[in-house]
Symmetry: C2
């Protein structure tokens, strides 16, 4: 069943684009019913408009508390009747317990490191500064922990040849853009079960 | 130049064996001049005897302080005129500053995870319990930090199919046994330079 997907993004939205492209090529069975962003300057907005995807800007400054901001986003997700929420370069933590509960097992994040290594907002630079030879990305369910929910997919990326943190970012992004659309597609073709920290997939 | 290697091990010594085998096959240009262990029951001892490698048991209980234990090991390494010290399943931290300084850039450790993920003595179980899909091993220089010295080599291992922590251990060990002998050999063929956390190799 074609899954209704909302993407949350704060920046340039290249992961978002990878899902758009996957759908365009017929490789991803999904409909992106909305881009939700906290940043009115996000380049992701242009990508959405270009592809006739509705854009919803929900700025943090319009809400007193972080939880209220989350609740406004949750309301929008409910209205859109979303089956999957993809956090793709969304630079805020989801903190509202009601939102986390409502979308438990339906909200995923892509993070540019092999978690639990290099959590947080500067994963690629942290990996570079550490002198890591291998990094990668992690797609995981979102829960109350920071970059800590159950892992759906990890892929390693050899960064031993990277000379700058930006090169690390690019190398990892190239792999993200292959892996993320596949995971989105998998949600329309089967079910994930979460047992503690273990994620199992029953595909078609 | 054939490098003189001492191996420190506390357990079964399968990594130690991989170096022995590499030398036997002519793939590793090194001479193992001693096995040093803190554990008189270590299976590694049998492997050493079988291969006529001198064994030195230096038990922790014979020394009041950890640093004294380290110093006794350092004295043995000096006597053996060692060019490379390999910690291969050595379950103690090297804490003596004099020993660390004397063998800076000449003492390496192999750790069964992609550091900084899963440091400590239970890396494989920790990776399994986390639900990691990718783990691996890290060969790094030893310094005063716990599992934190500059990284020489990392290799990723897909553990998504592993059903137990033991399966994770075995999967990672299989890769360790390929990578470790190569790194030992590299020390006889070129020089590593350490700049901050970055390790560079000038091979022949």
């Amino acid at each position: 069943m074609t899954i209704r997907v909302a993407v949350l993004a704060s920046g340039r939205g290249s992961d978002f684009q990878s899902i758009i492209d996957g759908i365009g090529k017929g490789e991803v069975d999904a409909e992106i019913v909305g881009l939700i962003t906290d940043n009115p300057e996000a380049k992701a907005i242009e990508r959405a408009k270009k592809n006739k995807i509705p854009v919803f800007v929900v700025e943090r400054k319009n809400f007193a508390a972080r939880e209220e901001h989350d609740k406004a986003i949750g309301k929008k997700l409910d209205e859109l009747r979303v089956g999957l929420v993809v956090l793709a370069g969304y630079m805020r933590l989801v903190k509202d317990a009601a939102l986390l509960t409502a979308y438990k097992g339906k909200m995923i994040n892509i993070h540019p490191s092999l978690l639990p290594a290099f959590p947080g907002a500067h994963a690629q630079k942290d990996a570079f500064d550490y002198g890591a030879k291998i990094s990668g990305y992690t797609i995981h369910f979102v829960d109350e922990s920071l970059d800590g929910g159950p892992v759906i997919l990890q892929e390693a990326v050899d960064i031993s040849g990277c000379k700058t943190a930006d090169e690390v970012s690019e190398a990892i992004l190239r792999k993200e853009h292959v892996g993320l659309p596949k995971i989105v597609d998998s949600f329309s073709k089967g079910k994930y079960s979460i047992e503690g920290r273990r994620v199992k997939y029953a595909g078609k």
